[in-house]
């Protein structure tokens, strides 16, 4: 199971806790994880990426294994630690403001 950590506002929106566990078919990529996340929690549609272009929203960031993966290709494999469930994929609302 892949673990995804959501920011607080999206936890409230989706009615879930901090960590969501997802079964992802095929290779674990940003795209396949987000597809699985949106399929299991449709209220998150449009909050992380554009519903048509699937482009990441500008102030949403993806971190894992102490690396910023935000600008990686959505089809690039996620780190093995994420794919195996040892490490979570962190979805972060970019720090902005005071």
């Amino acid at each position: 199971m892949i673990q995804v950590v959501l920011p607080k506002n999206l936890q409230i929106l989706a009615g879930v806790g901090r960590v969501v566990e997802l079964e992802v078919r095929g290779a674990a990529t940003q795209r396949s994880v987000l597809d699985a996340l949106e399929a299991s929690h449709p209220s998150l549609l449009g909050t992380l990426r554009d519903q048509v272009s699937k482009k990441r929203r500008p102030m949403v960031r993806f971190f894992a294994c102490q690396e910023d993966l935000s600008d990686e290709s959505p089809d690039a494999p996620l780190p093995e630690e994420v794919a195996s469930g040892k490490e979570p994929l962190l979805i972060i609302g970019a720090i902005a403001g005071g």
Binding site: P7, K8, N9, L10, I12, L13, P42, S43, L45, G46, T47, L48, Q51, V52, R57, M59, V60, G93, A94, A96
Partner: protein, 371 residues
Amino acid sequence: MSSVRVLVGTRKGAFILTADAARKRWEVEGPHFAGWEIYHVKGAPTDPDRLYASQSSGWFGQVLQRSNDGGKTWETGGNQFLYEGTPGPHTWYDGSPHPWEFKRVWHLEPSLKDPDMLYAGAEDAALFTSTDAGQTWSELPALRTHQTASGWAPGAGGLCLHTILLDPNDGGRIVIAISSAGVFKSDDSGQSWRPANRGLRSNTIPDQDAEVGHCVHHVAMHPSRPDVLFMQKHWDVMRSDDGGESWREISGNLPTDFGFVIDVNANDPETIYVVPITSDSHHFVPDGKLRVYRSRTGGDEWEPLTKGLPQKDCYVNVLRDAMAVDSLDPCGVYFGTSGGQVYASPDGGDSWTPIVRDLPPVLSVEVQTLS
């Protein structure tokens, strides 16, 4: 026995305030959608337990919420607000072309006949409609593609469509307002539009009497007289007696005619309310005094209403959708401030009491009168 339900949108969530017809003792419930900006919450006239809320965030975008039980529980609707075709540019603050981009829904207006039908006014300015209780949305593109649209420029709050008035006597007539393009009117359910700004003068634009480009802050209508419209413009309080075909100034003896809100007493269509704000560079009430001004003559002659409102050291603002009236007798008047207070007057404005004092900054206030 009648009761009232006040729907409050704030910078950090929604709150629901309820009282019986005396409107003295209030229950405060919330926050709903904590941490999110709630630009507007409104109930369907034909089913008061059907509520819609516009929830948004600079990080996570737009969410549409729907309740079928008066706000006890909520479910998400659709949030795909797509402009028809490829949108052209509008005019940016510096006069350059700027791409039309959806940012958020400012105002939700449920149909007067069908609780599953509603309109959404968006930033960047466009009008969307849903016929399935907010699950899917489609644009009424004739407004955004109006021949004047490339010249529309945003107000300080953005290029927002903030006012949607549905004519109870004519199902096809819609009046909308955009900051800062002005008022537009449709007689065919939004299939075509024409500007309705004749008589407006704005010294902040090159052609002061231009057909479009006026920073209209809010427009109000009494349902018994849909041809009489009252407007709080950036500067100037205005009135139309012909459904927006022409406007005349009614600022009269107001201490300043800058402001955001305007509303009409439910029991007397000639009694109107505004909250004067110092200026466009000082978005707070003048002289440290929070005063609602009431005109019983449909404008021109105004009286300050101060009983129960702070009269010193007060520097709050009242935003454009943050005033509403109930339909009890005497009429209840409600408004919310940038300081998080929601004030209620159960006697048409003669006296005021804070329902709640310390909410996040208030973005919108709506009232439902429940039987």
